[in-house]
């Protein structure tokens, strides 16, 4: 009987979730591209930075925007935590409208800290 109730509760719950509008943490639109590397970077210490259309930075999907100093400090901390053995990889989720100036800033910071970086794009599947 209890299991039956659990069933019903879960069904109702997922029913609500599926009809609800699930918003992305930051509503960004990725740039489209055909030719992309599909495999995941493995054996890496992954860090995700989001840049929205207005050039605001968000660390690891955090809803509060981070200052440039905070981003720099975070990457430096990740670099130190990884030590010399582990490779740190920054996934840059930039809105297609974000300025290249932001990407350049991150790229240079990554180079300084010896961190790999890649830009996340939306893959266009060509039929």
């Amino acid at each position: 009987m209890i299991l039956r109730l659990v069933d019903i509760v879960l069904l109702v719950l997922f029913g609500f979730i599926s009809v609800a509008t699930i918003e992305d943490q930051k509503r960004i639109e990725l740039a489209d591209a055909h030719e992309v590397i599909e495999q995941q970077a493995q054996d890496r210490r992954m860090v995700t930075l989001t840049i929205d259309a207005w050039g605001d930075f968000f660390i690891e999907g955090n809803l509060n925007e981070a200052s440039l100093e905070e981003v720099a400090h975070y990457l430096e901390m990740e670099r130190n935590l990884a030590g010399t053995e582990e490779i740190v990889h920054v996934r840059i989720r930039a809105d297609r409208a974000a300025k290249m100036e932001n990407i350049k800033w991150i790229a240079n910071l990554c180079d300084e800290l010896d961190i790999e970086k890649s830009l996340v794009v939306k893959r266009i599947t060509s039929e």
């Binding site: 591209a33 590397i37 794009v121």
Partner: protein
């Protein structure tokens, strides 16, 4: 309820949870570009080799601006609509055959593709994309994407940061 029945119910519950997760998952084909180390192109152009420079440029002119309406999350969790003004990417192509310099311009991605197709008839040894700081990410990604799509050499990206150079 027999033990067999309980196991079946648990399988049921597990499947419901699984289907729930699948239904809310944001399944979008995604990929990535590995960004090579930043390289400054200034002063490195050797006229004796073929090099194609693709500059992604923008202007402040009103007709060169695109207005995009975006929904963003307000601190209270509600959605608000906000306009973002984005400069439209234009492309300035410069290429060297020996010491001879040629130039052309592309006003959009389609024109860029056409011009790259024309240029790809010649063997291109080196390509560099030079995005202006004000240009949107999409412009650079498009230029990079077309180069790879047309089987041209892997483009280098000039990601040198102006403030650090000075």
């Amino acid at each position: 309820m027999s033990e067999k029945g309980i196991i079946l119910r648990l399988v049921d519950v597990t499947l419901i949870i699984l289907i729930g997760f699948v239904s809310v998952a944001d399944l979008q084909p995604k990929g990535r570009f590995d960004i090579p180390p930043a390289q400054a192109t200034e002063g490195e152009v050797q006229e004796s080799i073929d090099i194609l420079l693709i500059e992604v440029v923008t202007s402040d002119a009103e007709e060169d601006m695109e207005y995009i309406l975006r929904e963003i999350l307000a601190p209270d969790g509600s959605l608000i609509e906000k306009w973002v003004v984005v400069p439209i990417s234009r492309y300035q192509l410069t290429w060297y055959i020996g010491t001879q310099e040629s130039q052309s311009q592309a006003k959009d991605a389609l024109e860029l593709e056409t011009q790259l197709i024309d240029l790809s008839e010649h063997p291109i040894k080196q390509i560099a994309i030079i995005p202006s700081p004000e240009s949107p990410v999409e412009g650079t990604v498009t230029a990079y994407d077309y180069c790879k799509l047309l089987g041209l050499p892997e483009p280098g990206l000039d990601l040198s940061y102006r403030e650090e150079k000075e």
